[in-house]
Symmetry: C2
Subunit: 290 residues, 2 copies
């Protein structure tokens, strides 16, 4: 029996069918059309599924948070304007009469990495995504640990040091204010005196720019302390890194690894890997929830 | 069928039999006699078990860490001098021909609280013990989460702020250097200019001593940040507090609760309780491992 994965993104909506061997057997992407309602947008994906004429067990949906997982509802993700309050699970269940699961994009990508990616075969996998923000997923014995309020692995707010360079609404000394692509760009722009984005900071570092290297070194130290804090709570078998900042700058993750060894209790067994499923992790993980 | 729990302590060794209804049906304590070998000391407990003439399934042992759980061996706990390297699991298995489980005292007490104490019925319980040190246990779906290196819930080293008031070997800004009874006594002694122990600091605070209140307030803030960090990783249904500092000073835990609400993502559902099994938690939890 097949299962279906749906990946909701701010610019693109994707759907795929996963075979029992874990391979994608059909895949389709459509733009997220802001002139359409969320019902119409998601409806186009359901039309795709129907057109495939497959026998399938259920549908998993990955979506940027915040979500209400109890009611299967999208709350107010910043890059899904107009989707606020959309009861996506009920809508898809109503249209398909199948079992429908919803989870946030980091959890879904983490599940894909844990089951069929870089963490395959490990009892516990902590997935960290570093891009504009910092997110995570904790997969234990093949299942996403969601927590009492669906807030497990919401590591963006994890406090790692005494930094007070913080944005409103976040904790002082938190990971997202120091280790995200946005934070790296903000700090570097300030210290360089020119506007530069995250990719630009890494490009400058590759050219040997001392300021850029220093900014990246401090971000890596904050992330290393975050990794250590996570290890003091759940001691995972492996940390898997996804997100554009991690995947485009493997030396950054190597630096985090080296620094994290200074903080953890078991430096010799601290295991890091880059995500292997790349852009398909969201689709595959969504289907794997089924 | 009954199960047996053994609780190894620096001053006392205890053994009990647990009935299927979860109640202790026999219990015995002997002093930890430093003139005897660990084999002789533990042998006295095994003699107790034999004298009870019960049919039992196995033996669980709780012991201060560090332990080697893979080989069932005691490493070098500071208050078990002479027990270093003792293969306690093999020794007890050899004497009894029963299945024997070993875990550290915090994990064992946490298991008791999760299954038959303050966390009963919850999917996930985070147990925190605050006494001379700070320890923890993460119980998920009725089982201790040990982690890849048996270091899950080793929260003493969790970094929560930028404090540099640290002891050698610990991370800067870590929980144990700020929130343990030892840390509270050390900071208060320095600021008061007199030697005072943990209980003394709390006694002074009860009398309204401003310095003692300030020291306790800062310790509570560090612990609150630790609680928040744990919630960002596993979002447990409840935090259960044990250990002498917590159990003798419930206002301290109330203060931690109030402060932690400022840091977590879900202040309304942040749930705290004091441990209910008191001094028996170690014995009961050890037996429950079986």
């Amino acid at each position: 029996m097949h299962s279906i994965g749906i990946d909701i993104g701010g610019t693109q909506l994707r759907v795929a069918a996963l075979g029992q061997d874990g391979r994608l057997i059909a895949k389709q992407a459509v733009p997220n059309d802001r002139t359409l309602s969320p019902q119409e947008n998601v409806g186009r994906l359901l039309d795709c599924i129907e057109s495939w004429d497959l026998d399938y067990e259920g549908i998993g949906i990955g979506c940027p948070g915040p979500l209400d997982l109890v009611f299967g509802r999208i709350l107010n993700p910043p890059n899904l304007l107009g989707w606020e309050g959309f009861d996506i699970v009920r809508f898809v269940e109503g249209r398909t009469s199948k079992r429908v699961m919803l989870d946030n994009d980091a959890n879904v990508a983490g599940l894909a990495e844990a089951l069929v990616g870089a963490g395959k075969g490990r009892e516990s996998v902590f997935y960290l995504t570093v891009s504009t923000g910092v997110g995570g997923a904790y997969i234990y014995r093949g299942e996403i640990v969601r927590g009492a309020n669906s807030c497990a692995a919401e590591v963006f707010n994890l406090m790692v040091n005494g930094s007070t360079d913080h944005r409103s609404g976040m904790n002082d000394g938190c990971l997202e204010d120091q280790a995200s692509g946005t934070a790296i760009a903000r700090v570097a722009s300030r210290e360089l005196g020119i506007e530069v984005d995250g990719a630009g900071v890494f490009a400058l570092a590759h050219e040997g720019n001392e300021v850029a290297l220093s900014v990246i070194g401090r971000a890596a130290d904050a992330l290393a302390r975050g990794v250590a804090n996570i290890s003091f709570v759940v001691d995972p078998n492996i940390f898997v890194f996804g997100g554009s900042v991690a995947l485009h700058n493997s030396f950054f993750i190597d630096l985090v690894h080296e620094k994290a060894k200074r903080y953890v209790l078991n430096p010799d067994t601290l295991s890091f890997a880059l995500a292997q499923r790349g852009g398909d992790a969201g689709l595959v993980g969504a289907a794997l929830m089924v």
